[in-house]
Subunit: 344 residues, 2 copies
């Protein structure tokens, strides 16, 4: 983020005091300016349909994911509803679906091997966390299934924008666009008003809405992203893509110069936003080990911290490495990786 004052917010003492933002909106605690900023950005990037959608704002997309689980399972005739995701899946889904021991829903693990009867919700993260591939639902049933599409990383600095996504329940988060994780702002685009209402019901009980200060700041920053996105020298997405591309090239160079590690290969694709064919440069590297070793432990010995593949329902020979660290940290990571790339 460049340090320009266009991204600065000023909030006066008497401002933003109420619980309410717009009592006529299904999501009564959503600031109308944020709703407009979200629609404008999706319109400019072309990554998601916002027409005929209810926007539900959350304290990050984690809270929204739980609001969605609550909404879809509350509306199911049979409970608990099975929650599944194809391996490797975002490790936090397991905790989100399990920690409260709810009778509404139940974590059932890998969507590919899911064979229980009854209603289910499939979490589809695309590009996927941890390994950056584009995903589709894998449970193949004609009825009883709902899908939550988590599009946290479906932005042009991570992956080519190949279509405007158009699904029943899509999640996005401010933190994975610009890195403003501290603001805890996420949003859902929801087709069915009953689902949107139930999500709002969850958010009302869970936290009586979402910080207005964060909503105001997200509005300012998202609007600035939209305004500058076609200006090559000012566009955050141009900057972000070049940064990610350079990091991936440096990482691949080290991995390919040795005989220890593996990385996924991604197809190049035409990005509708950039108007050209680009690489996939995910927010995480799904680093693998050619031999059957516990890669997380091996890296830890070399002072590289990464989340082990087993946390994602996969194998310990993989780890998830953040590609979004600060320049200095990323540089040190590469240096340390280089010292072990020929380890036998």
């Amino acid at each position: 983020m460049k340090k320009t004052d266009k991204y600065t917010v000023v909030i006066q003492g008497w401002d933003l005091m109420s619980y309410f933002s717009d009592t006529r909106d299904v999501c009564w605690f959503l600031e109308p300016e944020l709703a407009n900023a979200i629609k404008a950005l999706h319109g400019a990037i072309g990554n998601a349909v916002t027409e005929e959608r209810y926007i539900v704002v959350g304290t990050g997309s984690s809270q929204l994911c739980q609001a969605a689980l609550f909404a879809l399972s509350s509306l199911s005739e049979v409970q608990p509803v099975n929650i599944v995701a194809a391996v490797p899946f975002y490790s936090t889904y397991v905790e989100e679906a399990s920690y409260l021991q709810s009778n509404l829903y139940k974590w059932e693990g890998d969507a590919r091997t899911f064979d229980k009867k009854g209603p289910y919700i499939e979490m589809v993260t695309s590009p996927n966390n941890p390994e950056g591939t584009m995903r589709e639902p894998v449970v193949n049933r004609t009825e009883g299934g709902k899908v939550i599409h988590d599009f946290a990383y479906y932005w042009p600095h991570y992956t080519p924008i190949t279509r405007r996504e158009d699904h029943d329940l899509m999640l996005f988060t401010f933190s994975k666009i610009t890195g403003h994780a501290g603001s805890r702002i996420g949003w859902a685009l929801v087709k069915d008003i009953e689902v949107a209402k139930k999500m709002v019901h969850y958010l009302t009980i869970n936290s009586i809405g979402v910080s207005k200060e964060s909503q105001t700041r997200a509005t300012t920053i998202l609007n600035e992203l939209t305004k500058t996105c076609r200006n090559k020298s000012e566009s955050f997405f141009e900057y972000g893509y070049e940064k990610m591309k350079s990091r991936w090239e440096r990482l691949r160079e080290i991995v390919e110069s040795g005989d220890t590690f593996t990385l996924p290969n991604y197809p190049q694709a035409f990005c509708n936003f950039f108007g050209k064919t680009i690489s996939t440069t995910p927010a995480f590297a799904w680093l693998g080990c050619k031999e059957e070793r516990d890669l997380g432990s091996l890296l830890k010995e070399k002072n590289v911290l990464a989340r082990g593949g087993d946390r994602f329902g996969s194998d310990k020979k993989y780890v998830r490495i953040s590609m979004l660290s600060r320049d200095h940290d990323f540089h040190v990571f590469l240096q340390r990786l280089a010292t072990i790339k020929d380890l036998k």
Copy 2:
């Protein structure tokens, strides 16, 4: 809130980006400046002990209440843990304890009639929401019980500060001090580190922490409250108490001039903060009807909206009226009430 720029915050684009505030703190997403501001304000007002306490910040005290239910019930050997509160109780507790159909805890209603075996958590709100009385736990058992003290309204503009509260788990909220409900900032003062850790675990899964923008703004405003609290012309609490006192006098005048309504009587008491004997001037009026009538419906006919007593586990002859509305709204409320005070 007076419109002075001491209460204004300016947040630059690159600031407050991380999930983390202080990785050494049990509550790693709590801004250290907010922790200091909270301690300073409690110190200046004298309403709660903060020494040897862990501070856990939440997205309002609603989220913290749920974090506390999770923490205390997770640490219980037997589950579900019974959740109780003495009638009349804050209506939202019922929803908070029930909506997710958790196997960890179960809403059991009135604490006074609670006679089930097994562990329990008693919610003690003091001053109480809805009727403003000072409360103590009522379940009288030697073991198996935990108490969550909700001190949302234990501030000198609502009630005389008679002692520094000193309990295991105390909840406070920014919204009920100055009215900044939109910020969604609450905090818990927690004695036991294991309970604090479990609460942080809940908040990590539920929303990966709490808006930094809101924390920053709350810090600025709480610090200003502390700084000015001994200056009679600038003190928010002096202003707030005079405002509440005047509203209560006007309300009592109308109620006492007719023969329809009742209001609780509160003892005067010496307030350690103001250094003099003052009245109790709660945030809500627990308006009753002398006859057995559905007071909520009666008022609704006269365009007065109030939450019915049945929502608080009590009788429909009572309603909860907010004493915190804007001047104009409060004035209109009194006018409408005056037209029905002699209704037969």
